[in-house]
Homo-oligomer: 387 residues x 2
Amino acid sequence: MNNFILNTPTKILFGQGQIAQLGQEIPADARILITYGGGSIKKNGVLDQVHAALAGRTVLEFAGIEPNPTFETLMKAVEVVKAERIDFLLAVGGGSVADGTKFIAAAARYQASPDAWEILLTRGAKVADAVKMGVVLTLPATGSESNNGAVISRRETGDKLPFFSPFTYPVFAVLDPATTYSLPARQVANGVVDAFVHTVEQYLTYPAEGRIQDRFAEGILQTLIEEGPRALAEPENYDVRANVMWSATQALNGLIGAGVPQDWATHMIGHELTAMHGLDHAQTLAIVLPSVLAYKKEQKRAKLLQYADRVWGLREGTEAERIDGAIAATRGFFEQLGVKTRLSAYGLDGSTIPAMIAKLREHGGTALGEHQDIRLEDSQRILEAAR
Amino acid sequence: MNNFILNTPTKILFGQGQIAQLGQEIPADARILITYGGGSIKKNGVLDQVHAALAGRTVLEFAGIEPNPTFETLMKAVEVVKAERIDFLLAVGGGSVADGTKFIAAAARYQASPDAWEILLTRGAKVADAVKMGVVLTLPATGSESNNGAVISRRETGDKLPFFSPFTYPVFAVLDPATTYSLPARQVANGVVDAFVHTVEQYLTYPAEGRIQDRFAEGILQTLIEEGPRALAEPENYDVRANVMWSATQALNGLIGAGVPQDWATHMIGHELTAMHGLDHAQTLAIVLPSVLAYKKEQKRAKLLQYADRVWGLREGTEAERIDGAIAATRGFFEQLGVKTRLSAYGLDGSTIPAMIAKLREHGGTALGEHQDIRLEDSQRILEAAR
């Protein structure tokens, strides 16, 4: 097992009705800015619940944070934070709203440069303070509600970049599974795929004697396999929603990745697909992951066999058959959820692959994977194999 | 899944050499009191490592915290904290030192009564402040390094009682598996049993749709079954020690018990065995747990079958056979580690059971288990069946 530092300071309030406890988690004299996306939280009553919990407080709103939140939009919120002397940000929504709010929190206090885009260019290294924030999660997927990372896009340039900071952990996250009943099926499926791929990226590398980490990762994958399709089939099954929601949080709060190698190639390559073609984040993962696993099956052999056995119950046949079976089962699981796994299924013929590889080079994606041996030509082949 | 609040604020520094990072986690101007037990940390060099990491700081020491730490000893440390204006406590040792230090931290700031024993009588309800503390863990077992609970004994009365407070989470915990190489086999075995039983007590109740919690609990149990005996056989195998250490922390940091029913009957009954007869904490658990499981096998049927299948791989035979097989495997695991599972193995003939039950009544243990249906007469039968 590798050495690690694990910080999970976000207090979790989980369960139906927990939004009502929100007021106790925010200082009474805070000037609060609620940040959200397109307004679904107005339709499903979540915004009303939040306002009820904050009755009597100073509360402003900033709407319009888009999926794959953009620098351009978020900088408008930064102006509001400064002008209104906001000292608590409450993100109400999914991973995009949480990510975007982390950027707002950091950019509003950023001193290192007048250009806050530097936060992304330096991966957050110079962030020295941030406005305190909490999350009311309505879309289980990214795990952003209890980690310190965010991914921000820039319309102007087509960039999509991550940053991390010890100052951008949410203070608390409210997870009420009932808020997810009204999600469109596409978002539910995307969320399950995202959580699944996060888990795989911290698990399917090489054996590193992280036995707890492996078992926990396998437990998350098994739960998503059991409960993901049920969330689509039985949208108002509370326990199913609860298990999906808790899986997504555990998939990316740092726990399963602590002390073990990681391979974020799928996310890095996938980001270029979103930036260039506007595919949903999870769609890009469903396309890229099976292709990465197949391309790297020699290096990932031992863990792929463990995955085949413990997650998919594949114990018959040759090693090669079990490995191919596990990759096929992964692809089949995404397709079962309605998330297509080929570029062609999204109308893409592969002609933009060279342009995406050029962008990947620009974004520093020249040596990906747990061995840093996925070079640009490998990423190109991975995308070509995904046509 | 039940609603829950989960707080895991303790920052974990895990791995060989991490003690050297200690200084960064404690305010530079803090007046530090190192608390420890019988001096094994002097022999194995851990105390020297701690002092090296705190070179130039104001550092005092308080030694002599015993296994099952006593109120009488800890109150002496409280006097030191007050007289020396200590504002950071650093517990160096196992669960007893961590538990005792939590009590010192709370008692030194306790305003509700001049008698700090009230902290135990009220289970910590009136604790409103505590001295900040960190832990350097040298004995994986109790999970105390990253939770807010402690169990304190009182020599004078033979009491052994728990308390909890939001103010007694360690700020950080340093877990260096190499510090555990020199532990006596008995302490290693006890630690594995303690972590195993903590996990079972949050798992073997009734199905509650906590799928992640179940999978994580099973993962901890499987890891302890694989690695516990190896820790005895290969004491300087770093990865084995690392997996045991991380298992014990995960077993009781709140994660696997969040949102699911729990049954702490084994600990509650076991405490009376320690208080009256001085048995090691883990010895009492190894005696009581198999007896509790057998006594409650009807109520725990569904989870016992899941445990038999997923943890012990018992899939043949009738339900009753699989349940009995799982209980026998549990007992066999403890015995394999050298921890005896019968009262008679410790020279006890059962004649003091009525006196222990009387103490259990005094301590409020009148309705134990996940259904609060283990009455005093049931606890008596459980102990009688463990002779």
